[in-house]
Point group: D2
Chain length 303, copies 4
Amino acid sequence: MNYQSLLDSIATEVAPMIGQGKVADYIPALARVPIAQFGIALRTIDGHTAAAGDADTPFSIQSVSKVLGLTLGLQAMGPTLWERIGREPSGNAFNSLVQLESERGKPRNPFINAGALCVADRLLSAHAEPARVFAELGRQLHGASFVFDEEVARSERETGYRNAALVNFIKSFKQIDNDVEDVLALYCHQCSIVATCTQLAHAFGYLANGGEQPGTGARIVDREQARRINSVMLTCGTYDAAGEFAFKVGIPCKSGVGGAIVAVIPGEMVLCAWSPGLDETGNSVVARRALELFVTRTGLSVF
Amino acid sequence: MNYQSLLDSIATEVAPMIGQGKVADYIPALARVPIAQFGIALRTIDGHTAAAGDADTPFSIQSVSKVLGLTLGLQAMGPTLWERIGREPSGNAFNSLVQLESERGKPRNPFINAGALCVADRLLSAHAEPARVFAELGRQLHGASFVFDEEVARSERETGYRNAALVNFIKSFKQIDNDVEDVLALYCHQCSIVATCTQLAHAFGYLANGGEQPGTGARIVDREQARRINSVMLTCGTYDAAGEFAFKVGIPCKSGVGGAIVAVIPGEMVLCAWSPGLDETGNSVVARRALELFVTRTGLSVF
Amino acid sequence: MNYQSLLDSIATEVAPMIGQGKVADYIPALARVPIAQFGIALRTIDGHTAAAGDADTPFSIQSVSKVLGLTLGLQAMGPTLWERIGREPSGNAFNSLVQLESERGKPRNPFINAGALCVADRLLSAHAEPARVFAELGRQLHGASFVFDEEVARSERETGYRNAALVNFIKSFKQIDNDVEDVLALYCHQCSIVATCTQLAHAFGYLANGGEQPGTGARIVDREQARRINSVMLTCGTYDAAGEFAFKVGIPCKSGVGGAIVAVIPGEMVLCAWSPGLDETGNSVVARRALELFVTRTGLSVF
Amino acid sequence: MNYQSLLDSIATEVAPMIGQGKVADYIPALARVPIAQFGIALRTIDGHTAAAGDADTPFSIQSVSKVLGLTLGLQAMGPTLWERIGREPSGNAFNSLVQLESERGKPRNPFINAGALCVADRLLSAHAEPARVFAELGRQLHGASFVFDEEVARSERETGYRNAALVNFIKSFKQIDNDVEDVLALYCHQCSIVATCTQLAHAFGYLANGGEQPGTGARIVDREQARRINSVMLTCGTYDAAGEFAFKVGIPCKSGVGGAIVAVIPGEMVLCAWSPGLDETGNSVVARRALELFVTRTGLSVF
């Protein structure tokens, strides 16, 4: 299949939708991103690439970084990571405290904020300089250290009362070991990573390739872990719309409020679509539609 | 791969676990099923079969019938079925009323009781004799009308106060059109279907085969619908343990409190494992373990 | 104090508000009650009476009957009644199922529907003809059998899916002993009692008088029970606005969706105000305001 | 009535219960308080006093200080205080975040932690030195500045992750204006006030006396405000047991995890009972029983 012409035709088809939705506005650095942008890129596990639109425009990856956090967490502690974090869909908004209360401080999964904050706590316990470990991961995944947007990280920390509430709440159940401020700082730092569609389609190749980074052959996680990260992405990767994504898109995805959605087709490729306008579930309207079109046209789906 | 010897070895391996868990005891007909039974069967889309243990012992399929209901619902009304039923995991116990309240009578998905009752209501509106339509479906799927256990249906109806609460509650939001008693009767009737592992592995073949029944070539649902039923099974098919199943088993499954779990490997086969002892999430302890072993040994998983 | 002129002046003062709010419309017989009506009546424990407006117009007492049910329940079984029903405010809408779920079928108090249904179940166990016992109570309280509106009772039963859900749900926790239909029938029957402000101010005299009916001296409940019914009225008698009523009105009240509010001033008198327009909490807008004015003008309050 | 001999007899009657329950153990300074203590004191509005047991032993007043905070809040801003804080019972544990979420950051009442934190925020906006205003209040109420236990305040601040979660959560709804740390510091400071039964029975006299401090005649709040504080105490003053207290004790009460319960009999007197052993609702087992006995013996109750 000619993926380049397919991406081109998808870019043409979604063009009229660009501008739909609402750019995340809770911090100034995100609010001022122009909504009228769209990019898409893919990279197959045997190294073919294709891209269309603003595929090389950098954006804030935000919650897509939760997959990186989970990857580092599994590298550092293996399955014991799951002692403090579940693998169930949440059935509630991504930053809900309700379930945390009835489940005594064990977040439902690593892709809601509560769970990602617990992963950050685990990384603080595992590494002397966890922020540096994050940066390094970029080198392993796409040949260059990840870049952070310090303004975003700072704003996120200064205005992130909901996240501060989550960490304090979890700590009240003794499920956070490190200092509240340190956990928040690491979390905000990871969310501020800046990347392009092309870079992310490259970086997450290991998830489509049994845990081994295509090209370099570097083993990032073991086969079973890769399979399980994909499973958690499918059931929990797109906030409270995960069922809808599984139903309509049918492949593991992780979205971020910066407008990116990374999608994994196991054994085949990784895609990244991006457009800043979000729907009411916090997922990019246009990136979502682009992935749906891709799946429909190619028949690629896990089901 | 030699599936027969694989199933044999799995049956041997799980034998020491048989008897773990607790037989469903809310109606006498289920409570008196001996716990010490285990069967497993598979059928590939090209017609190969394998089976081990009590694969030909009939049991009450219970919630596995929700997949049949959904199939009939999609046959009868296509995507409009989804106007009254969501596709999101519930994040709560399978018979919870809490979410129904905040979501104003629209059940989260067709595999929780509330959703299956809504499907039954839709079937009552679509067919003059919906119970007969259910029976007929058996003929289409495995060559013989489905068999019902009237005692189970009657007990279920007489003691099913939670289901009666659900139907009345949904009807209070005007999301049920038919008479409360009729909806309950149809639902209890479908839950009382009796089948064997071998029969179910045969019957659900269309889900692994793009909607077309292997062997007969009968089109049961269209390709996209088959894909989407699988997706809902993966995200919602095993009560509140769906995330855990996706994580550990990694293929679409639907379980019932009779102890059966049906699993679909798209493009490959359907399996059915059965053992009456349930864990605290309502899923068969031994059937679950058997499927995990199958997936681990074969490497077959959607991820 | 000249209560007659006070009630007259209150009637004048609230006159411009009459018509505010919304008449209960869930059954036809209630929906067609003209909104532009208001009555108020009081009776002191030493027999003085005063009344203004439509004080002798009959209306459907609806949830005010829950006080009668509680009274009969305490007569029949004393404090053991409380084994199945709590005394805590609910903090949720009056017909919520959420709390019932987390509290395993024990309603929070006898003045939410769930609790009143449990009281009805207790009366069915205690009396051969509980509906007749209700009627008789009228004779004890104000010299004439209570009158029922059979059309209201029937409509209520036919459309009361939420109540049917509640009874079935509670029965699923084995906290209802009698037949679901019988419980619903008794409950709908008691709600359909028809009375006037004057009659209710008379009937509830025992609550202001230590449990003894003023005039006749009939002992209805013991002193402590009277005190406790008043306490439950204050904390739970006005649906989810009980705190607000205690704050603004400061005396035990019980309201009904027919527009009546009965208020008890212990040691002094009983008032009944009525006007069909309800606010969003289900309490009569004008009756509420009239009681606030009464309390402000007289300085009578329990606090 | 001879109150002194009544308190003596109550002290004798509850003596065998002393030691029941569990001392609050979430901070060391509270955990090391010996459980085997009990005191009770009262002061009528015309100046008569009576006391028994450890009535002059100082203890940490903890949540009883919420009444002081509310008093200062009403002094500073009058009814506008209620724009950010409700007056409804919570129906959930005193430090629950669930209701806050569904009610968008407006706490149900000023006596749950969330509400008291909002009051502290209001005091920070109203006063340059709110902590000093608290201390001064003591001078107005019982002739001497309140005394604080700095160790308790510090421990409370250091370990109070749940309170930190609450403030951050409320601030995420923009319902807290001041700095999170400042709000927590003021709140922990007020909770650390140390006083005796005798002092508290004296200090809260204004609530039994229409807002005017008995003896000095100082106007603390206006008559209506006093009435309303009493109402909120009755409906919300004893955590999730408020309905039970109203039912059994029948007078406005405010309890604290230090083991104190302050009770107001409007027009008559204020009582304070104290014993460190708490029941599972966070109320002192023995103090509660002592107040029940007092009410039963005297017949004093608001109902």
